[in-house]
């Protein structure tokens, strides 16, 4: 499938002429159960669940939901044996908002266990395959959600982005992914991985789809005090807004010498298209970028070690029979996959007495520097353009035994989470038959500008067909 095909296909989705949901569900089920199946869903709705509960912006629209967002109807497993079959008694605020807008939940999508990974290979329930080429990973951790949209199962999906988990899989699958400003969307009901970095994000076949979905789920929630009371602008209108006069910063740190020339060429072309659309491009520097990955893996693992302490077999989820309390903890928590165990151990270590200052406290300082980099940059430019990931999708199994190589696929997405700023990934071309994503980063609450830029870029490719 070429990018042009994809864009054309996405054009077929017109808000007026939607497929009837139950028919599509049957098709999805049929495909997923066939040899063509991608292992996108961990659970699928029943036809009777696809009746909209309200009339709104998304009446009858099927949305796929990452399986770390709590839903009342379907289980919420986080791709983990620890939560196998776990049924949440309550619903996430983002899901409630979806329902109030008339959307229906088609199913819960596969992910790296608790969002920890960049390929969806860390799911306890098997990897998801990239719809563009099934020997490649869809990215992660929201790989199931990105694949659901890329495969045409749904127009829209919810993911979560802690270090790039919406944007990177969107890039790998050739779809659009938005990570909003920290505090834009309520985290209530999003199973926490790293609370200060986690944010629910949206994936869409087009910029408009992802933007409309974001508009629906945004806003302050009294159940999440880190969500912010701030007007939600019309993101769908932003998707078609002009970018005339917009200043786009190109940070040298995101275009290292090691970047593949064919990738660089596509990025350069994207810049030219931005200029054609009326934007001005300007080189900038984000000098503390190199600290982002180490900083992220200290803070995220520290928070994760604490957030995952509740999976102890006492109140819910898997509990292993045992002779005593210590053994129950041990056997139950052995159900975490190896990547999750690795991060719990790392996080426990960096918070331990005697190590806190050397690791956690230092990482907090690095985080402040990285934020400051962006603050400074956004005094000069309106938005920033970068590759979403250093490479397109990698092959299944290629990096699973090399955690460091896996971690580096997030090198361009992690800084936005550390700073809390919004980012969007939009398809900008194909490399070796695989989609490549370009990323726009914006100032805090600058979603509209990002969406406008991504929309302009998307439109420029559409004009080529």
């Amino acid at each position: 499938m070429t990018l042009q095909d994809k864009v054309q296909r996405s054009r077929l989705y017109d808000t007026a002429g939607l497929d009837l949901a139950p028919k599509s569900l049957t098709q999805v089920k049929k495909t997923e159960n066939s040899s063509e199946g991608l292992n996108v869903f961990l659970s699928l709705a029943e036809p009777e669940d696809l009746v909209p509960r309200a009339q709104g912006d998304l009446t009858g629209v099927m949305v796929a939901v990452k399986d770390n967002i709590c839903t009342e109807k379907l289980p919420t497993t986080c791709g983990s044996l620890v939560l196998k079959g776990y049924q949440s008694p309550y619903e996430a605020t983002a899901i409630r908002k979806l329902r109030e807008a008339g959307a229906v939940i088609i199913g819960k999508t596969n992910l790296d266990e608790f969002g920890m990974g960049s390929s969806t290979e860390n799911s306890a329930f098997g990897p998801t395959l990239n719809p563009i080429d099934q020997s490649f990973v869809p990215g992660g951790s929201s790989g199931g959600s990105a694949a659901a949209v890329a495969a045409g199962y749904t127009r829209m999906a919810l993911g979560s982005d802690t270090g790039g988990s919406v944007r990177q899989p969107a890039a790998f699958c050739g779809v659009v992914g938005i990570k909003p400003t920290y505090g834009r969307v309520s985290r209530y009901g999003l199973v926490a991985f790293a609370s200060s970095l986690d944010q629910i994000g949206t994936i869409g076949a087009t910029v408009l789809d992802a933007s409309l979905l974001l508009e629906v789920i945004s806003g302050h929630d009294i159940r999440d005090t880190t969500s912010v009371e701030r007007l939600v602008p019309s993101y769908r209108d932003a998707a078609t807004q002009s970018i005339e006069g917009m200043v786009v910063g190109i940070p040298s740190e995101y275009f290292p010498d090691e970047l593949d020339p064919s990738i660089r060429a596509i990025l350069d072309e994207a810049c030219e298209r931005l200029v054609d659309a009326g934007a001005r491009v300007q080189p900038i520097s984000l000098p503390h970028t190199e600290f982002a990955i180490p900083c992220y893996y200290i803070l995220a693992t520290a928070e994760a070690s604490s957030n995952l302490a509740r999976y102890d077999g006492v109140r819910f989820g898997t509990r292993m029979p045992s002779d005593g309390l210590d053994q129950m903890y041990e056997l139950t928590r052995h159900h975490f996959g190896s990547e999750v165990q690795r991060r719990i151990i790392l996080g426990t270590y960096v918070l331990s007495a005697g190590y806190y200052d050397a690791y956690y406290a230092k990482a907090q300082k690095a985080r402040a520097r990285i934020s400051q980099d962006f603050k400074t940059a956004f005094q000069e430019v309106d938005i920033i353009f970068t590759p979403t990931s250093p490479t397109p999708a990698f092959a299944l199994g290629e990096r699973i035994s090399d955690p460091l190589a896996m971690y580096l696929s997030d090198v361009f997405t992690v800084p936005a989470n550390l700073a809390g700023i919004p980012g969007i990934s939009v398809p900008i071309g194909m490399v070796g038959g695989l989609p490549l994503g370009g990323q726009f980063l914006g100032p805090w609450w600058g979603e509209s500008e990002l969406i406008a830029a991504a929309g302009a870029l998307e439109a420029s490719y559409g004009d080529n067909t």
Partner: protein, 477 residues
């Protein structure tokens, strides 16, 4: 060599909030297990804490009552450890920057007045309750208590004796009850105390190795536990031994301390800032408002009662034991009852009536206006003091007006000499031995005889007249 003990305490108080600290469940004691729980307080995946502003207000008032410095910017932290009654695997508490520091409490000590520094006051959530059923060989957990709001008050090691600890805790409890921040009921676990204790030669400025005493749930328990532990440490030191740093659990039934397994105390709590909550930011205005809303504190009120009403220490202490009793007393004074007379009635008959009815001065049905009316009837000699107590009992049970009750029940003071003489002669005939003892010079026995006449009259006789009559008869033959 003379030795002294050095003691610091940590007090946990359950704040009197309707809801839990981070969710909207009601904070109640004694409900059926797990009937006040929700995704937040049992730590379900995806649930998030939302701070209860009322808990902050109460903690602020508590800190201000102890003269603390308020941190306008305080922070929340996670304290991590695994235990089945701790739902999230961490407790949300305040660590690096607590809401308040540097306070003091003045209390009556063995040496007149004691002063204890308050190191810090911080807000935190409570855990659930683990119940071990030996018959079943199983454990169960009640999460009703999980997430309820506590303040922890940590003192400097300024206390020297177990008696002082008890007296300090009394002052602290009374103060907190005055401001209504906590019910301080130890049986319900509203107030829990841990103590750190070490010994050293008097005059030494260094601190010895300390032990920590936990799990004490009464003031007498803490006093006993500390006495035992100080004695143990002293005999150890006098023999040239060393005190090992350890945690001791108090067993109230056996009145003994047992050592906590070293494994149980080797926790590394891995504190770090709670990312789900913003720092707690207070405005100077909020602090001022909290200060303004503080009632007169027990110590001040006690002092004022002594000064203004010229009361004895004992009466002032008893009257200010609770704010409601003190209010009651001042209501009586406000309707022109003499302070000393009011003190006598409140500390005596009224207190007895409150104890009997398990009421406090606010809920007891004999309101101050009625009580004032009754006191005036006693002063006018219409009813005797002992009959007035009977009237109070009837008032407490059935209500009504004192004069009506006196009339209806025939409780008016009997002053008819004929009737009184009958009772007196009857008693003299009944107690010949006492009569002769009086006549042999044991004059004190007169009171006993007056009492017997009062009994015969059912409390109606005027004791002054009875007394005179008795003296007349006894001296007269």
């Amino acid at each position: 060599m003379n030795w002294e003990a050095v003691i610091g305490v940590e007090v946990h108080l359950r704040l009197k909030t309707e809801h839990k600290l981070f969710c909207r469940d009601r904070a109640v004691f004694g409900a059926a297990p797990n009937t006040h729980i929700c995704p937040v307080c049992i730590g379900l995946p995806g649930a998030l804490p939302v701070l209860n502003a009322h808990a902050v207000e109460l903690a602020l008032q508590t800190a201000l009552a102890f003269g603390c410095r308020i941190n306008l910017d305080s922070t929340w932290a996670r304290k991590s450890y695994f235990y089945p009654d701790l739902p999230k695997g961490y407790q949300i508490t305040q660590f690096e920057k607590p809401i308040a520091t540097d306070g003091r409490v003045i209390f009556s000590s063995s040496e007149d007045k004691g002063l204890v520094g308050i190191r810090r006051v911080h807000i935190e959530e409570d855990a659930g309750k683990l119940l071990h059923d030996k018959a079943l060989g199983a454990s169960a957990i009640d999460f009703n208590r999980a997430g309820t709001a506590l303040v922890e008050i940590v003192t400097e090691p300024d206390l020297r004796t177990p008696e002082d600890v008890r007296s300090f805790l009394g002052e602290l409890k009374q103060t907190v009850e005055y401001i209504g921040a906590s019910d301080c009921n130890m049986e319900e676990g509203n107030l829990r105390v841990d103590a750190n204790v070490s010994v050293r030669p008097v005059g030494s400025l260094e601190l010895g190795n300390k032990t920590e005493i936990k799990n004490v749930n009464s003031f007498s328990g803490i006093e006993k536990a500390l006495s035992l532990e100080i004695r143990r440490q002293l005999s150890l030191m006098k023999e040239g031994g060393l005190v090992n740093q350890k945690t001791l659990l108090w067993d109230d039934h056996r009145s003994e301390l047992r050592e906590m397994r070293s494994k149980e105390e080797s926790n590394d709590y891995r504190y770090f800032p709670e990312p789900d909550l913003h720092p707690l930011v207070l405005s100077q205005g909020q602090v001022t408002a909290a200060l303004d809303s503080l009632p007169e504190l027990p110590r001040d009120r006690r002092y004022r009662f002594k000064k203004t009403y010229e009361l004895k220490d004992y009466d002032a202490d008893v009257l200010t034991q609770t704010a409601t009793t003190a209010d009651y007393f001042e209501d009586l004074v406000g309707i022109n009852v003499d302070p000393k007379v009011a003190a006598k009635w409140v500390t005596g008959p009224l207190q007895a009536l409150m104890n009997q009815h398990r009421e406090d001065a606010q809920s007891i049905p004999v309101r101050p206006e009625i009580m004032g009316e009754l006191i005036r009837l006693v002063e006018r000699g219409v009813v005797s003091e002992s009959a007035a107590k009977t009237v109070m009992v009837i008032l407490a049970e059935d209500g009504g007006s004192p004069s009506d009750i006196i009339e209806a029940r025939g409780l008016a003071q009997e002053r008819d000499l004929g009737q009184l003489t009958d009772w007196v002669t009857e008693v003299l005939a009944k107690y010949p031995e006492e009569v002769s003892r009086y006549r042999d010079g044991e004059l004190k026995i007169l009171g006993y005889l007056v009492g017997q006449v009062m009994n015969s009259s059912g409390g109606a006789a005027d004791p002054k007249i009875v007394r005179n009559l008795l003296i007349d008869y006894l001296n007269d033959s």
